[in-house]
Amino acid sequence: MGLRSYIATRVLLTMPMIMLLLTFVFLIVRVLPGDPVLLHFEKAASPEAMELMRRELGLDKPLLDQYFAYLAGLLHGDLGKSMQDFSPIAQQIFSAFPATLELAIYSMIIAVGLGVFLGVRSSKSYNSVQDHSIRVFGIVMYAIPIFFLGMIFQLIFGVVLHWLPTGGRIYPGMEPSGLTIGGVHISTGLYTIDSLLEGNIVKFLQALRYLFLPSLTLGLVLCGVFIRLTRTNMLETLHLDFVTAAKARGLKERTVLYGYAFRNAFLPVLTMMGLQFAALLGGAILTETTFSWPGLGRYLVDRINFRDYTAIQGDVVFFGLLVALISLIVDILYAYFDPRIRL
């Protein structure tokens, strides 16, 4: 089976899962609490206000109709309207998305980079003090609540040392605006990239400064998984026959370590990156709240506090679709790297 047919099959298989996911979210948010509008208003509100909301948001129609409207809307990129001010949720989500994306990317870089590096060192010095301390480090990191770590960092680096900012994404007014070439505006929403597109190093450095603590927090907590995974796989792979055979042919140590041992141990790391992405998003919620980072996670928490249930639904759906997409990409990448899977 070639790569292309594998991709096609995989995409097809994802469909039912996505359908299920969407149905789930619908069930949880619309059906579970009974009447979301009532829940929103809590105390007695005028029946007219409630009716108005119902009509505006399409919540007065029968449940099945709502379900189909929901699905149809998704196909158009319509995630519904917020209970707070009836504005389109999709818009709010898309403006918050780049912030979370940027955080996720840098956190993942730290988690994987640090995790793999420590994992390889750990495996090379098997059973030594270095090996054991690295492993303990990984375990302890995982046991730390993300927001606690974040707060400690804020305390040390922000309050005590005054080195780094404790909240927000960048100094107000310094948001990079990307590049405009002859009427075409290119901007990714990722401040680090946009500032480079703009050619503004100051903004770039500032963006990094604000990005540093949140991504370090999230990255550290997640690196434990990668340390353990890399270590285990490297230990296994380093003793496999084809590695010894490669050494017997006189291949250089670096070639053997990276081209043979690591390349085979790497594939599970790739899969794990995909799996961890889900955990990353979950952790992002806490990190964004701690650091006042204007992303999807903080949006969710905000909306919960406002009891804006339609927005909650929209946000959660977006989360789910995002995770499904990333899993798909990871699976395809895996098939690209490991030809055996395609058969």
Partner: protein, 322 residues
């Protein structure tokens, strides 16, 4: 000067239960282009000996004494980098299990090109590819398959690829450690013949390590029989076959079934190889030896050289004087 000279080599393994001396004070020599068969049961130390020649012992193993001279230079003292440069180029190793010896994510052509370019960095990629194709051709693999992955080949073909990798750079010595044990009988013969022909054609010396004595008798000029870490007999294959001296060798030859005889019972050597942590006193073979004498329980015999150049480690042939 012989191509390979092993002098009083001793290899030990560290285990939880104690130190195992897998190779005990062995010596032999190999000339250019010579084909040597090394025969022994599992646990005899033959595989360990093979691995120590390329210094690829597992972490628990180490060479604790003796010298290995390749081309006059002692490689026991070589650094890892020095060893690395001669592996593959001067001395090659063919492993036992072809199913797991190739990198699953590299095309077989890549295996060869990488090997060539590591040892000969000035060779361009096109040249290396042509070399690779020639090597594949030598072992009987269609060059059209140069871009296939290992899992697309059968066991026998993978072993041929391993052989191609071993001979690609025309090493002086090829060590094959049970190269056909993992293959079925018909393929075995083909692969063995391939090894022999290639080594003969390119003038490479071959050390064939196996537990199957019949395989080496057909193809090797000289044979060494190993038991529990010691060499017990070395002779040229003709003499060994017609007139085996050591009781163990005699036992081994008896175990080879003869297809021409009808109504033959399968023979075996009574007993089993000794636990290397708990060796018998005196000669290591005496518990299983039909010709054991009293002295065998008490002293271990040393190698005795016989008139025709063969050697035997057995009191039946001398050595009682000490």
């Amino acid at each position: 000067m012989p191509l390979l000279e092993v002098d009083s080599l001793t290899v030990e393994y560290w285990t939880r239960r104690g130190i195992i001396r897998a190779v005990d004070n062995v010596s032999f020599a190999l000339d250019k282009g010579e084909m040597l068969g090394l025969v022994g049961e599992s646990g005899s130390g033959k595989s360990t000996l093979g691995h120590s020649l390329v210094r690829l012992l597992p972490t628990q193993g180490s060479i604790v004494g003796g010298r290995i001279r390749i081309g006059g230079k002692d490689v026991v003292g070589y650094s890892e980098e020095e060893m690395r440069s001669i592996r593959g180029e001067k001395i090659a190793f063919v492993f036992q299990d072809p199913m797991t010896s190739l990198n699953p994510v590299k095309k077989i052509g890549e295996h060869l090109v990488e090997l060539i370019q590591t040892h000969k960095p000035n060779v361009s990629r096109e040249e290396a590819l042509r070399f690779a194709e020639a090597a594949l051709d030598d072992v009987g693999i269609s060059t059209e398959r140069i871009n296939d992955y290992p899992h697309q080949f059968s066991g026998g073909m993978r072993q041929r690829i391993m052989i191609a990798l071993a001979i690609a750079l025309n090493p002086d010595i090829v060590i094959a450690d049970e190269p056909t044990t993992a293959l079925d009988v018909i393929v075995q013969a083909k692969v063995m013949d391939l090894l022999k022909d290639l080594c003969g054609a390119h003038g490479m010396a071959l050390i064939l390590i196996t537990h199957d004595i019949s395989v080496v008798l057909e193809r090797c000029k000289k044979v060494i029989v190993m038991y529990a870490g010691n060499f017990v007999e070395c002779a040229d294959s003709v003499s060994l076959h017609n007139d085996p001296k050591h009781p163990y060798t005699q036992g081994l030859l008896r175990t080879v079934p003869n297809i021409e005889l009808a109504d033959q019972r399968l023979e075996s050597i009574t007993g089993s190889p000794p636990d290397l942590l708990d060796l018998p006193s005196g000669c290591r073979f005496w518990p299983r030896c039909p010709q054991a004498m009293k002295v065998c329980h008490m002293k271990g015999p040393s190698m005795v050289e016989l008139e025709n150049g063969c050697c035997v480690r057995c009191f039946l042939y001398g050595g009682l004087e000490q």
